[in-house]
Symmetry: C2
Subunit: 198 residues, 2 copies
């Protein structure tokens, strides 16, 4: 099975890159589809699932231990465990690209190609502003960029020592600053094909 | 001008990747050639130049400032400045790949494609052992891996805030763990071509 996972900074175009790469390889790309599937299983709506799986994790300062401890509630755990099952099921069905959701960690047994997509602040802001149909504005977007990435890093720390955004956690790190992602896809598809032949 | 710079972890195969990528693109690759050129200009031998440009930088603890200060001696400065001139001259002569020597920083005005090559400890060790014709042995190689990379990071800190080995300092970071570098070259050459058409 050839599984490609995409980790990404908020606004870096990781989702676009994942979709386009999957199209080029003729395989499905799973992103929000995972949320919808988990929502169906748990009988709650998509936005609640998203809130749980991408939320700022709960934390409490322990006087005994002398540092802040992060934890999931029982409900969070149920949803996260359901999400892991969905990701494993999708991956077992055939070659695919999976965006986010720590799929690289969850599917590590399947030896996936793990790509991290990132960009400088200005490029990410420009990309977010271009798709800002709800008129959030620059200030709100910059705040969201910071918060979401902090959440991703923190959530990841609960399940693995391979840190979010550090090169050693991935096989390829792609900087999309000032680049039209479309133009990189043929080379990335070739890279993926070569990598799986290793 | 299309300039590609290669930063690399010791033993990651960055030099091999640079040479092969240059061959695939039909352009020259400069690596040790830079040292030889600088040695000619300064009238000292290659190994002295290498020692100065890749040495552990001099440092002294300043009581007034309350922290360790790094510095170059006058001789170091002369050699480093000569090396920068050689790198700029080579780059101005035409498309090329330049391995190491902070070429990405020195040539930043020319908007080079900056690639970082890295690998996990075991892969780097295996690569070094395979070319260990002098019989240095595992322990010495592991020590060298650590020392050389620490030197590279420290030397870089003297000239730029873009840190060595951090993704944001590069356009593409390639993990060569367990990979035959040859197989990645056609895709990387395509990636470079696409990147320069941005």
């Amino acid at each position: 099975m050839r599984i490609i996972t995409i980790g990404r900074e908020f606004g870096s175009g990781g989702r676009e890159l994942g979709k386009r790469l999957a199209d080029a390889l003729g395989i499905p790309c799973y992103d929000k589809e995972i949320i919808t599937e988990v929502a169906k299983i748990k009988g709650i709506d998509d936005s609640s699932i998203e809130q749980i799986t991408e939320q700022d994790i709960n934390s409490v300062y322990s006087i005994t231990i002398g540092r802040t401890m992060c934890y999931y509630t029982q409900v969070d755990n149920d949803v996260i465990s359901a999400q892991q099952k969905v990701i494993k099921k999708l991956a077992s069905e055939g070659d695919c690209v999976i965006v986010g959701r720590q799929a690289d960690v969850i599917l590590s047994d399947m030896d996936p190609l793990n790509i991290f997509v990132y960009a400088d602040r200005d490029s990410r802001l420009a990309r977010c502003l271009a798709r800002d149909t709800e008129g959030e504005g620059e200030r709100a977007i910059l705040k969201k960029m910071k918060t979401v990435d902090r959440q991703r890093a923190a959530n990841r720390r609960l399940v693995t020592s391979k840190e979010w955004g550090k090169p050693e956690s991935y096989h390829l790190c792609v900087n999309t600053s000032g680049i039209d992602i479309k133009t990189l896809i043929p080379a990335l598809a070739d890279y993926a094909r070569a990598w799986f032949e290793k």
